[in-house]
């Protein structure tokens, strides 16, 4: 709780200086633009492989945007295209209304938090954080002040003279964050920043990143393969598959109303129901999905409530997850279904017969493929 309070007070200190920093003439772009980052028909080919295959995206100023997808889906390549580490084969990218084609990485108004943090091993924490300011020719005292402020922002005060090799993973992550934030970028790119942290630290950082983004009002673009991370942190999520964006929406839209089998399955592991079966239940021949947590176990002889679908099956596996248990059920009608039940309910045994039911409203239609 006290950490939470810290968080709200700390960014305020930094932000006034950041505003002065932002008014420095080095990185000026037009403020009138509607999109922080926009992709138009962007492609990136590596030989015959289309890593990015026709992506259109609009990332709004000040939003926390997540690019979610399995490895090899093109999300990281898209981030690298924004950062300028790679150039698109086709299409155009604009950052705050300015085409960035041919603009080298060091002249883009974006900064990156790298997956491996990429801290300079021969510089101490403060030197790392102040690197960008030093490059801009800011005088020593001023950059030291800004650097310390940035370290306050990420709660790392007192470690200024440590070398990156002497820091824990979580601390390195904060240094990387401070080093990028001290330059007050228009867009902050985060490449799987939490991947190397343990679960508890990761959850804490998720909250902190979110708070930082809100209080600084910057545009954050996060690349992740962890759907939980994308859903909990982002304002909007783009789901990538095979180099394309398959769905863009709020976390709720993505989770509750997946447009395709892929999204339904990748985000939260939904059950996909074949069109023929959906027609038998509801009368519409379309593929649909049902979230595992919308399915309930009911008594074997319980009558089917109105507007509920009831299925019988056999328990194939029970996986205990702590707060919930995930049950794999094989049904005659719908094949393999997953449901999650809270741990307050006694789970069935493997091999037992079980009856399940879910509301017709829980059946979400997906777009025809």
């Amino acid at each position: 709780m006290s950490e939470e309070l810290d968080l709200h007070s700390a960014p305020r200190v930094g932000s006034e200086t950041f505003q002065r920093l932002a008014s420095m003439p080095l990185r000026s772009t037009s403020e009138a633009a509607t999109s922080a980052v926009s992709f138009r028909g962007v492609e990136r080919h590596f030989g015959a492989v289309k890593a990015v295959d026709g992506v259109d995206l609009d990332i709004r100023p000040g939003e926390f945007f997540a690019m979610l997808g399995p490895s090899g889906s093109g999300k990281t390549t898209c981030l690298r295209l924004i950062g300028g580490f790679d150039q698109p084969t086709a299409g155009s990218i604009e950052i705050f209304g300015e085409a960035v084609e041919g603009v080298p990485v060091y002249r883009r108004p974006v900064n990156t938090v790298f997956q491996d943090y990429a801290l300079f091993p021969h510089m101490n924490v403060l030197e790392n954080v102040c690197y960008g300011l030093m490059i801009r020719g800011m005088d020593r005292a001023e950059r030291r002040r800004l650097g310390v402020e940035a370290l306050q922002l990420v709660k790392l005060v007192g470690l200024e003279v440590r070398k990156p090799g002497e820091l824990s993973g979580g601390q390195r992550q904060r240094v990387a964050l401070a080093r990028a934030l001290v330059l007050r970028p228009k867009v902050l790119l985060l490449d799987e920043p939490l991947g190397a942290l343990d679960l508890k630290l990761r959850e804490a950082m998720q909250g902190e990143l979110r708070t930082l983004q809100h209080s600084l009002g910057l545009t954050f673009v996060l690349v992740t393969h962890d759907q939980g991370e994308a859903l909990s942190m982002a304002d909007r999520v783009a789901v990538f598959n095979h180099g394309r964006v398959v769905q863009v929406g709020t976390p709720e839209e993505i989770y509750e109303r997946p447009k395709s089998r892929f999204v339904a399955d990748f985000v939260g592991g939904s059950n996909v129901i074949e069109p023929a079966l959906v027609k038998a239940w509801i009368g519409v021949e379309r593929a649909a999905s049902v979230r595992p947590e919308k399915i309930a176990l009911i008594e074997a002889d319980a009558p089917a409530p109105a507007d509920f679908i009831v299925l019988d099956g056999r328990v194939a596996q029970v996986l205990y997850h702590g707060a919930v248990s995930r049950i794999e059920l094989v049904t005659a009608e719908a094949g393999r279904l997953f449901l999650t039940i809270p741990s307050t309910v006694a789970p069935p045994q493997q091999g037992e017969a079980a009856r399940i039911s879910f509301s017709r409203d829980a059946v979400h239609f997906m777009e025809p493929e």
């Binding site: 580490f85 060091y106 990429a118 021969h122 690197y131 801009r136």
Partner: protein, 314 residues
């Protein structure tokens, strides 16, 4: 049958007991493994070196020419006689120039090999850098003597390119020049540079290979132009490799006595003096004292390198 074999305890053979002891007592294993190389290093390398250096505290009787086994600093004082000091300074100057030129020549090659060369190009790089090391040192030095001679290939090429005027101007420059390239300091430095460049390329390349690409990207991302990235990130991280390479080129030049005999002016450099003092002159103490000079010079060099933070990235 198999189950019986698997469930039976492992046989208690003597060999097995030895390996059990070694596994339990790591220190013993380490001692056994390290003793032979340490003996080799200790006796053959350091022992011999100290035996030589110990000679330097003795002196030579100027009339009989025999060694007087009484500790004295007289021999060291001799090092500071104008003629000997001249030799030391000349040697340091040649070594320094060779080392600086080696860095300038080797760095781009190493950078290309570490950052851009892949597959076949990389194999070609290794062969190209190592190949000169496969042939005889003497053959190479004599070959250079012919190349650099007045009627040699270098002179011919300069003439064909219409640059003989420039060559003559260079040769008439004091200190670096001389009657021909093969009897000038320029020639000597060129031959040393040729001989030692591989010893600079390889460590620098190894150091550059260890610089992660993301660090270079991060530097650019933070606003640094490629030249700034080079100065602030790549060079400091490659510094240990440059220092390692410099130790090779510097100390190899300091100690060499064959190249200056074949190529270059008649004035002696350090290696030659050690050679003549303990060979023809039979003045072992002075030869030993001269041998201490490179050790001290390298010590000073490494201290300066450490002060400038060259080892910070290690």
């Amino acid at each position: 049958m198999i189950e019986a074999a698997l469930s039976a305890p492992p046989s208690d053979s003597p060999l097995r007991r030895v390996s059990d002891v070694l596994v339990r007592r790591r220190g013993l294993l380490l001692a056994l493994l390290l003793t032979p190389p340490l003996l080799w290093l200790g006796i053959i390398y350091l022992g011999a070196l100290f035996a030589l250096l110990a000679q330097s505290v003795f002196s030579i009787d100027e009339f009989s020419g025999t060694v007087v086994y009484q500790p004295t600093l007289k021999t060291y004082a001799e090092l500071f006689s104008p003629a000997n000091l001249d030799i030391i300074i000349r040697t340091i100057a040649v070594s320094t120039v060779v080392t600086l030129l080696a860095v300038i020549v080797a760095f781009p090659i190493a950078y290309y090999a570490a950052r851009y060369a892949r597959g076949g190009m990389k194999a070609l790089f290794y062969v190209a850098v190592m190949m000169p090391l496969w042939s005889s040192y003497l053959v190479k030095v004599y070959a250079w003597k012919l190349l650099l001679a007045k009627e040699g290939a270098v002179g011919w090429f300069m003439q064909a390119a219409g640059l003989s005027g420039a060559l003559d101007a260079w040769l008439s420059t004091p200190i670096v020049g001389g009657p021909s390239l093969s009897v000038s300091y320029t020639g000597m430095v060129l031959v040393f540079l040729y001989l030692w460049t591989p010893f600079m390329v390889l460590p620098v390349q190894a150091a550059l290979e260890r610089v992660p690409v993301t660090l270079i990207q991060a530097s650019g991302d933070l606003g640094a132009k490629p030249s700034q990235t080079f100065c602030h990130v790549i060079l400091p991280l490659a510094a240990p490799g440059v220092v390692a390479g410099s130790i090779f080129t510097f100390s190899l030049t300091l100690g060499d006595y064959i190249v200056p005999q074949i190529v270059g002016p008649s004035s002696l450099i350090l290696g030659q003096v050690v050679y003549t003092q303990q060979g023809t002159a039979g003045n072992i103490p002075l030869a030993a004292a001269f041998s201490v000079a490179p050790v001290i010079i390298m010590g000073v060099f490494l201290t300066i390198a450490k002060r400038t933070g060259a080892f910070d990235a290690l």
